[in-house]
Symmetry: C2
Subunit: 337 residues, 2 copies
Amino acid sequence: MKGKVRIVDVAKKAGVSVTTVSQILNGKGSRFSQETQERVRQVRDELGYVPDFNARNLIVGSAKTIGIIIPNIANPFFSTFVRGVETAAQAGDFIPLILSGDGNPDLERQYVEQLIQRTVDGLIIASPSVDQATIDHFLKANQIPYLLIDQNPIDEGDRVSTDDFEGAKMAVSHLLALGHKKIAMLSCYNPALNQKQRLEGYKAQLLEAGLEVNEQLIIESSLDKKGGYNASEAVIKTGASAVFTVNDEMAIGLYRGLGEHGLKIPTDISIVGYDNIDLAEYVSPKLTTVSQPVFKMGQVAFKLLLDRINNPHAPAQRVKLPVELVIRDSSQRYYGQ
Amino acid sequence: MKGKVRIVDVAKKAGVSVTTVSQILNGKGSRFSQETQERVRQVRDELGYVPDFNARNLIVGSAKTIGIIIPNIANPFFSTFVRGVETAAQAGDFIPLILSGDGNPDLERQYVEQLIQRTVDGLIIASPSVDQATIDHFLKANQIPYLLIDQNPIDEGDRVSTDDFEGAKMAVSHLLALGHKKIAMLSCYNPALNQKQRLEGYKAQLLEAGLEVNEQLIIESSLDKKGGYNASEAVIKTGASAVFTVNDEMAIGLYRGLGEHGLKIPTDISIVGYDNIDLAEYVSPKLTTVSQPVFKMGQVAFKLLLDRINNPHAPAQRVKLPVELVIRDSSQRYYGQ
DNA sequence: TTGAAAGCGCTAACAG
DNA sequence: CTGTTAGCGCTTTCAA
């Protein structure tokens, strides 16, 4: 079908010039006679001509491709996010090039480079480990539009985020309303901007309630199930009656760890997670958590990036999406004193 | 989007010709003086120059890209598989183009077409809905190497799979050994080859044990958590003392559904899943399941594809990876009569 | 040791 | 209505 059929072959066989073929096949051939148009299209089909993408891109400058760099596609948060981007991209006739950088800055730098090489029209970077140097060096130098997600505020560009501060406040406020006074927070190492804001929200809400912030109650661990599991003992030691975890994955790890120590949720300890991954309503007890519109975030991210591609000098856009507390069965009234 | 750093920019700044830059940066510059080589590389770094892939590819031919089509990247099985491919691809300096076709044949056909246009060197198709016509029309006609995963046996090409038949036998054998006699199977609609073989394994093992295969005990539902959840009542109605589910996601849905009906796992009913997703040891009770080397499967898939790309006429390779039964807490001895 | 020049296959001004 | 002519950014002879 493809093989070696080039535009000249079509042109020759149809008895016209390459321009004619090019224009007609690119939908810009209204000025040509109906007859010529038909003939060209017919020869195209006959020969099975398919334009060479590389040659075409070289001229047009756009590959209709965007790059997405995330830490790990196996993480539900990111895969949902990617699905959102994908959906929007597909509607805009773009193809997303998805790469998992695994939190490895070297690999990520390499990926950024490879994506630029492939003349992506823009980049969505959702990995906190891509650093400013890489961005300045490659993206700015090459004038590639990009969008950072959940990143430290190292840049003044477009941004889509969810209201992490408010989300954390809602979670803590819920626990306070249930009568909990000693509320632990399970946070992570090297928190990115969004995680920092959840931490701030936690503290702010406690202060608003007239309680003190006790740093002993803030535990750090890795952001996955294992991290939650490993933190179980530390959490138990705090003697808190409730825990707010910085994401659902950790909460699920905590479920297991607490269970192994003979603690019942929510009877012995209440838990509120963050993310509302689809698993949250399948664990037992169903997890109370803060829901972020992750899929929508992906869609908005693509839209913002596309706007930026089409209009490089427009003022930066910032979209902050609202979050929502989903109350399920892992949080319960505190009956202690 | 111009303003990209081009090879001439590097050449000018380094005070050499574009040829010199090209040769040096492509590792063919041994004939140039050490000093020139250093200088060129340094200027490259300074400017953040990245060669344009389209221009390069136009000349060189290979895009060092493979396409991967899967149903849904948010499914843990596929995301793990993709991670495996990704890892192997990265080592081979290839970039994977990942697309979720969502089980939509039209969309998938469109993706196949787009991937071919992008001159991918090969394709891994892990979606059961890509049909033979699409394959013949696009892949064979364009002589693009491809690899099918978990697909119906519509082709004689390379293949990587796991031993589904044996895996199912192991699961059922385990339940039989625990004294279960009435074992239901939770299967799926329109099973693909791998799922069919699990069904066959289930039947075969029952027959080997001298039991009859009762079609009433075979329930069909969709392959996700919701599918498992929705099938709960049907499962309960069978009166089986144990269930073998065709994947872990469904098992987790079943956990919830059975729980809502007041049934305890494994006291009232034993469950064995399939896949050993990382969640399996975080649910309560921890799920007994069949472990497939999914990540490795991804790696092998890339390797086979690469072999095929490099050697289009070599005989087909078939790799079948072994599976393993992981016994946890969701299966228990049956004390009924 | 180096560089000038010839394309790769295609699109798009600009003439007819 | 149609064709001529320049490139796009890069690699690769081939000559200096």
